[in-house]
């Protein structure tokens, strides 16, 4: 029994960093416009949100699946859907402000994903 307990504690220590790595990381959207960054680190570690704050109500677990939705755009956000559920100006800054907080742009997108920029801009 003791061994089992010890094992579980050890497993817990080993599993912790694995869990942290598994918390989603950075997601770089490219639809409907290229270069929107969602950082799990700033939402989970800094803002202290739980997984079930957003999953699976607002977003499914599969990264970038949401960008296939037709209404995944700024209008929906302003109506309180998707990111707009929190980014309403009260819980978090309104989605109609500080655009480049989330929009890393094509420049940021290419930089984050290590895409070669030497081939030109378009």
């Amino acid at each position: 029994m003791k061994k089992l307990l010890l094992g579980m504690i050890l497993l817990g220590f080993v599993a912790m960093p694995v869990f942290a790595d598994d918390s989603g990381g950075d997601i770089h959207y490219d639809k409907p416009v290229i270069g929107v960054l969602f950082s799990h680190a700033s939402h989970v570690e800094e803002a202290g949100l739980d997984c079930d704050s957003c999953h699976n109500d607002l977003f499914s677990m599969e990264a970038r699946a949401v960008q296939e939705e037709q209404d995944f755009n700024m209008l929906a956000l302003s109506e309180g859907r998707y990111c707009g559920a929190c980014h309403d100006g009260e819980m978090a800054f309104a989605s109609s402000t500080r655009c480049a907080s989330c929009h890393e742009g094509a420049i940021g997108f290419r930089r984050s994903l290590g895409l070669n920029d030497s081939g030109g801009r378009h």
Binding site: C99, A100, H103, R121, H122
Partner: protein
């Protein structure tokens, strides 16, 4: 010593003894301080146009073109989606290595939440166009009617003087045309065919690029640039080229 000062201070000479000259001098000092003599630039209630162009009342004459094409950039709306660049490339047949418009990125490490700002840039179609001044063959020139800085590709000898002269890095050498290429506010591809918007302004999903005739008081560019309550600026005003691309926020 201190006693002497107090004594002197008590001996106020009054204003009766002041000559008219001295009074005038004092008044002039006040006018200088309040900026009246500095063209109103110290304590100015007039919009940036005055500084860019001339003194109040004169600036209408200082839009020498009809229409006088101009663009206002709402800087903080830009998210670098680069649809403007794509639309420009498709419309004006821009090669992969070239550009007529571009997006610059500025890092602001101390910013709250937002630590990046994007800045769309293109030819400023300056009233005092340095490129046109240095071009030895007049291949690049100001269109006399609408003020657009244009290229006569056949005349370009590829000396690249214009690239050096341009304070805005708005030119590239097009190897297919074997000439320098640059933004012409889509004159060849759109404006001359009756379309009233540039490709980039039409493609922008965020309403960053407002294009229009700044000599027309009814146009949005005129209203925004002349709105006293709005801060409007130009890039590199020290170059003295009187650019026609304005920047603002909000």
């Amino acid at each position: 010593m201190i006693r002497n000062l107090i004594k002197n201070k008590q001996q106020n000479e009054g204003v009766e003894a002041l000559s008219n000259d001295e009074r005038r001098h004092f008044l002039k000092m006040g006018l200088k301080l309040t900026g009246v003599f500095a063209g109103g630039s110290l304590l100015s209630l007039v919009s940036v146009v005055v500084k860019v162009y001339a003194t109040p009342g004169q600036f209408k004459d200082k839009y020498p073109y009809r229409p006088h094409y101009s663009m206002v950039m709402h800087l903080d709306y830009c998210v670098d989606c680069e649809r403007c660049i794509e639309a420009c490339a498709a419309t004006n047949d821009i090669p992969k290595y070239g550009f007529r418009t571009n997006i610059l990125e500025r890092q602001i490490p101390d910013g709250i939440d937002q630590q990046v700002e994007f800045m769309p840039v293109l030819c400023n179609h300056c009233n005092v166009a340095q490129c046109a001044r240095v071009c030895p063959t007049a291949a690049t020139y100001k269109n006399e009617q609408n003020g657009i800085v244009m290229m006569d590709v056949k005349k370009c000898i590829g000396c690249l003087s214009c690239q050096l002269a341009c304070p805005y890095n708005a030119r590239y050498f097009n190897e297919e045309k074997w000439a320098v290429d640059k933004c012409d506010f889509c004159f060849d591809t759109r404006l001359s065919k009756g379309v009233d918007l540039t490709a980039c302004a039409e493609a922008c999903p965020a309403g960053v690029r407002i294009f229009g005739d700044i000599s027309d008081p009814k146009s949005r560019v005129y209203r925004e640039v002349h709105q006293v309550s709005r801060t409007v600026w130009v890039l590199r005003p020290e170059a003295g080229t009187k650019p026609n691309v304005f920047y603002t926020r909000g």
